[in-house]
Assembly symmetry: C2
């Protein structure tokens, strides 16, 4: 998407803030063009926008110092974790100061008894799971990218395990946040439940840096299951695959992962890795439990799949075999590129009630088939969430226009089915124009009132989520 | 607790609002003392405060009409479901208008495929489960009382099933809310996940009527498990019971319910129902799954309990036997009264990280043993949440003082263990003085800013959650 026309911050306050930041942070405040450009860009195709300076913070207190300086000069602040967002979240649309928290990478505490931990915002999910290796615990949320946990909280990320373990919404117990005026708050105590006032934790989860900078995250953890089984199965149609998913969930089978790829995505896997798989809608499943229960779960789903014409059902508990079965799914993004070497990917996502998922995917496929751009589909179908990966050359205006048309129609389709314009990628500036259609003006007025109440000067990540 | 000294609404605007309401609602706006008194009182021991009028609304639009009239005159609004709250939530501290939604009792829609439903706010949880009887689905959240689902959302209720199914926080997909100016908003679409802007659903869940009136609730449902097994086991100490709980959760056993009663509560059960049970700390457990998996789960927990000195482990899948095993737990409140016939119950709750639960309960027991008031303990221990039920004669100032002392010390103890002053009952006005100790002034200032942004005239349930 092209950059929105926002007023850049004035040079006077900008330069004054940068001078103060350099005095406070020395070399860890930089205006180097290369660093700025790297920080204004995420993994999306949306046009980047570099900040005027980047501060590398090493503690909550340092983030507070940086925010206080920016607040004093009313200079925009853009938080940055790993830059793996997908809707232009880190683009500094008015310039200003990017606060990079990637050096805040300490695991502060782990409690095996409480099945929880506290991490600094820059710890990535893989680093956390590496740290947990000997505890018997793991953190299940897996959005694909090795994102920072602060960023995952900020975008309300989820991914393949959400059908069983929930999203960041369900798995954040508490946040430490630097408010737009530089005060440091902790949104909740560490107990599993609380009914003590407004749920500020959930207000900051998904706020995309527009209400404050998340600096620490307290997360739920889970015992590594005694046994894991994985399965794959191909289907005569998307509807047959989705009906299998619906019946599996209705049956109360506590499936941990349930992923779908469409025909085009399967073709991409074959092109990419010479897999020789059937180019038919395919489900990947994973079951967590005891030896007996994962076998039982796999067998129950196999029976359900058979009723819906599922073919070539394979399941295994062997770690090597499981890895092999899932490899194609993990390679989805790379495989997409094999459909059109040299092109770029535009990954968009929607989420609908699962009863409408087959319709939504099939209608989207019809739209894609009528387009000159390839766009395979993969999805976290247990949640009704799927991704359309539009493969385009962003230098070709005609292709960009067509990609926008496909995306607009995808979102309109999801909204017409009581779904959302984004299940897990967030709004950034890429989806900002869809929020009115999704929520209506009265809901947006409440969101704007909340934004103004917490960030009256509008310095926090301006131009994201809401047009103010 | 005694009533806070809040300024009653002025007679002029009050009478003008009531006249307008009578014009709009006829007989369904009443100023009868009996009706007003019934609506100013919940199930707690806190002092009641009747509203000046009660309006019985039959639709979201009628609630909006009533709120618009109150807003025009800046007259307080107190929403009312079943009046089963426990911290004085429905007391009309400044007078004003109570909006009773109990006649809004339609189940609007049920989707078996999506495992969700939409209900009007006055539908109770038992009425919903009765409605769902033939669908194979159920709604698991069970706070004990047959509360309205609007009220359960408003107080972020939970109860015995939360360890497996979560609380209202996790199970509300969307809310229809009448804002303080009478506008009607829907907080979210019906998809399982969304990353499309601020999580207004979670902001209104637990807001206790202070941000608007919840008029419809869209809820997650679950397939009724193919098999259910229940178990009970007594332990040599609270610590042994809690350690069994911790190890069960760490092992990833997907236990559905895990309830604890202490020695005094077990004595009460014997007094109440001549059960002849051991007067030792006792766990009740319930497992949901297939025949094979509930048997496996029960056996695994039996082995864990045995390691911790658990005795007399009984488990069954027979519905009659299950009912018998759980009867004592369900009768906890009545049984408490058997310890002191004629006295009243003050049920307070806290929640702590589970690693601190045994300490918190044992220290509370020591405090209770040193008191002249009996106060048994039952708890949703899988969540670290427990209830102290103080049994007192509220007409005796000395007893009230002692009960307050026990409650204050309980909350201070929970907070010192990184817990919360209320896991599930909410704040109302009974716990309003603990919020500063729990959250600190900066967090409360954010909550107040949100409150002012959404309810600038402060008409929604004044004197609850926050002192403004």
């Amino acid at each position: 998407m092209a950059l929105p026309a926002l007023q850049p911050v004035d040079a006077g306050p900008r330069d004054a803030a940068i001078a103060d930041l350099k005095a406070a942070f020395g070399d860890r405040c930089t205006t180097s063009l290369a660093v700025r450009e790297q920080h204004g860009k995420d993994e999306s195709w949306h046009q980047p926008a570099p900040p005027d300076a980047v501060v590398f913070a090493r503690s909550t207190e340092e983030v507070a110092t940086a925010v206080r300086i920016c607040a004093a000069h009313k200079v925009p602040v853009v938080p940055f974790g790993t830059g793996t967002s997908l809707e232009g979240h880190v683009a500094a649309l008015r310039g200003g100061v990017c606060i990079d928290v990637s050096q805040m990478n300490r695991v502060v505490r782990v409690s095996v008894e409480d099945l929880d931990c506290t991490v600094e915002a820059g710890v990535t999910r893989k680093a956390l799971n590496e740290h947990l290796r000997d505890t018997g615990l793991f953190f299940p949320i897996d959005p694909g990218a090795d994102a920072s946990l602060g960023g995952m909280a900020a975008t309300r990320a989820s991914g393949t395990n959400a059908v069983r373990y929930g999203t960041m919404r369900e798995n954040v117990l508490s946040l430490t946040v630097v408010l737009p005026d530089g005060r440091i708050v902790k949104t909740a105590r560490r107990s599993r439940k609380s009914a003590a006032g407004y749920d500020l934790t959930r207000l900051f989860v998904g706020s995309e840096g527009t209400l404050g900078v998340i600096t620490e995250v307290t997360l739920r953890l889970y015992g590594i299951p005694a046994a894991i089984s994985s399965a794959t199965c191909s289907f005569p149609s998307v509807k047959a695959a989705v009906d299998t998913v619906i019946q599996t969930i209705q049956s109360g089978i506590p499936v941990a992962r349930m992923e779908l790829a469409d025909e085009l995505q399967m073709k991409a896997f074959n092109l990419y890795a010479k897999l020789g798989v059937a180019e038919a809608p395919t489900l990947w499943l994973e079951f967590h439990g005891t030896d007996a229960s994962v076998a039982e779960q796999a067998e129950m789903v196999q029976a359900i799949a058979a009723e819906h014409g599922g073919a070539d059902f394979k399941w295994t508990t062997s770690p090597e075999e499981r890895k092999r079965l899932w490899q194609a799914r993990h390679d989805a993004a790379y495989a997409g590129k094999a459909l059109r070497p040299g092109a770029q990917l535009w990954a968009t996502d929607v989420c609908v009630p699962i009863s409408r998922l087959a319709d939504c995917i099939v209608e989207t496929q019809v739209d894609v088939q009528a387009s000159f751009l390839p766009a395979p589909i993969v999805g976290h179908v247990g949640d009704g969430n799927f991704h359309l990966t539009i493969i385009l050359d962003p230098k070709e205006p005609r292709e960009v226009e067509e990609a926008n048309r496909l995306n607009d129609r995808l979102v309109a389709r999801a909204l017409s089915m009581d779904g959302t314009c984004t299940g897990e990628h967030g709004v950034g500036y890429g989806k900002i124009d869809f929020l009115n259609a999704e929520h209506g003006g009265d809901v947006l007025s409440v969101m704007r009132a909340v934004k103004k109440a917490i960030d009256p000067d509008g310095i926090m990540n301006p131009g994201k989520i809401l047009r103010m």
